[in-house]
Point group: C2
Chain length 322, copies 2
């Protein structure tokens, strides 16, 4: 069994690759960041869960990475005409997910249950779970004050400088049942930290009580794929945030951020010169040494995803058998 930790677009791509690369797709559990979730227009919106669900069901918009392929925007246009808040792009098809999820959450179902059921109905062959059924909300600390995540990310287009991040609700949140069970499963063959934003996507998952300890202590190898390639983020504001926080924008800084949690780190070919230093500096505590491997990590096509996933799985198997 493979456990993947993911945020939105980049994480979803590698999860899709893992699904293809595994003999049995149901052996994959993708645990998804819910720090981006928010309530908008009375709806419970879970952007990362939806990106993963749409990607794994073959419905994702290939141009944006998020949202539905072949989406229409008539709801949003009509909402604008009524004076409603139309800054968050809600497509007509996508809206069905939010309306149905909101209805079921209000009826008392857990987010885990709703997520598993919606994914099954869309034909996702692997399993998807939120990191927690309890609300965790990422707050971005900026010179303009604290901003709820989507206010920062969508409405303000990541323009305000990030001074800090916090994950409200995290201290009281519990891991989702599937997440907790996977981490404790003796059949767990590996944990893959997907190439998602370390600050915005992976940190909220790590902020759920017990996750760091379970990762640090788990018998299966833990492997991360760097989302920073050649000193730049493949997508999204990771590089900008690292700069604003005074962190070097490099794959090495990502490895350092995960220090003590990883057995293996996957670096892009571009960053081959960093491999040795990361191997020696990134290792820490019980999980040392840190093994580093170099691959072509940029996923442009479905084949790229499957190939990278197969390489990551091979790397994990190698570490497992050590």
């Amino acid at each position: 069994m493979i456990l993947a930790l993911a945020g939105g677009v980049g994480g979803a791509k590698l999860a899709a690759g893992l699904e293809s690369a595994l003999d049995r797709p149901q052996d994959l559990l993708t645990v998804v960041n819910t720090g981006d979730d928010f309530e908008h227009l009375g709806l419970s919106i879970c952007p990362d869960l939806d990106t993963v669900m749409y990607t794994l069901s073959g419905r994702a918009n290939p141009e944006t990475g998020w949202g539905h392929a072949g989406e229409s925007w008539n709801f949003l246009e009509a909402l604008g005409a009524l004076g409603g808040e139309d800054w968050f792009r809600l497509g007509d098809r996508d809206l069905a997910t939010h309306v149905e999820r909101t209805r079921r959450l209000r009826a008392g179902e857990t987010l885990s249950r709703v997520t598993a059921d919606l994914a099954a109905r869309l034909g996702v062959p692997s399993r998807i779970a939120p990191m927690s059924d309890d609300p965790v909300r990422t707050v971005v600390e900026t010179p303009d004050g604290d901003l709820p995540f989507q206010e920062y990310f969508v409405r303000r287009r990541c323009e305000p400088a990030v001074r800090g991040l916090r994950f409200e609700g995290a201290p009281a949140a519990r891991m989702s049942a599937a997440f907790e069970a996977a981490l404790a499963d003796p059949g767990l063959d590996g944990v893959v930290v997907c190439p998602s934003n370390p600050y915005l996507s992976i940190d909220p998952i790590l902020a759920v009580p017990g996750v760091r300890a379970a990762l640090a202590g788990c018998a299966a190898p833990v492997v991360a794929v760097s989302p920073i390639v050649g000193g730049r983020a493949i997508k999204g504001p990771a590089a900008k945030i690292m700069e604003e926080l005074g962190v070097e924008v490099s794959a090495a800084a990502v490895a350092a951020r995960y220090r003590g949690l990883l057995d293996g780190f996957v670096l892009d070919e571009t960053d081959r010169p960093l491999a040795a230093a990361i191997g020696s500096e990134g290792a820490a505590g019980a999980r040392a040494p840190l093994r580093v491997t170099v691959e072509q990590t940029i996923m442009r096509t479905g084949e790229d995803r499957t190939r990278l996933a197969a390489q990551v799985l091979g790397f994990a198997r190698l570490l497992h058998d050590r």
Copy 2:
């Protein structure tokens, strides 16, 4: 000032005609049945208010009479794929109305306020108000048990026989402020009971405490247009319901239902032979005699609406000046 009482499609058409026929469209207030309103998928849906609003803003679907012109159905299709309840036809554009209204009602605004604002944003030149800001819910009593209105009307396609109707919440409901003010306004020139279903659309309005007394006592003439023509309903289940309730399906039965409330009754040319009997039998109490006029009442085109509205206004003026 003219006050129109309306349900859905037929009422909306005459309201549109009145708007065109009046020198100043803002002199028209259309008070709309809210007994059809319901909560569905977590949304507050007001079908008759929306039909009136879309019709008066030129957005109504000319083929169905309800819903948006040029509507798309991607939300509903996606909802079906997720296993959601898709029996109530919610179009993508229409959905914006429900989402925005629901959000504003939850934030504490009244239905009157939200309705007035949405109508203004859509460019409706006259005024629209719900009959009440308090919830009134039509329940259809059938051999299969009590059915919430939309369950009967849409999901069961009006198939169950109607044994009775009741309007839950009506005894505790108050007239909306605009409705109450119009009925008490010394400038009121006429009340038009639109050719809507007497049982499903007008009765709920009459069930709001104080409405019958205010109509019976108001100084302005009260005129109804028959929705039954030649023993058949122009649209919807009115004839079927009258049969099931053991009432003769005729314009005369409609006049009898409004007995004591009307000064004038507008009959279709087809029913000219009924005019004399309606005039003598329909009159009752303080408002006797009942004057009857005959017009071409079927509204196929915009010109039909305006012409009929002008005739109704002329008739009311005649009664006013008596």
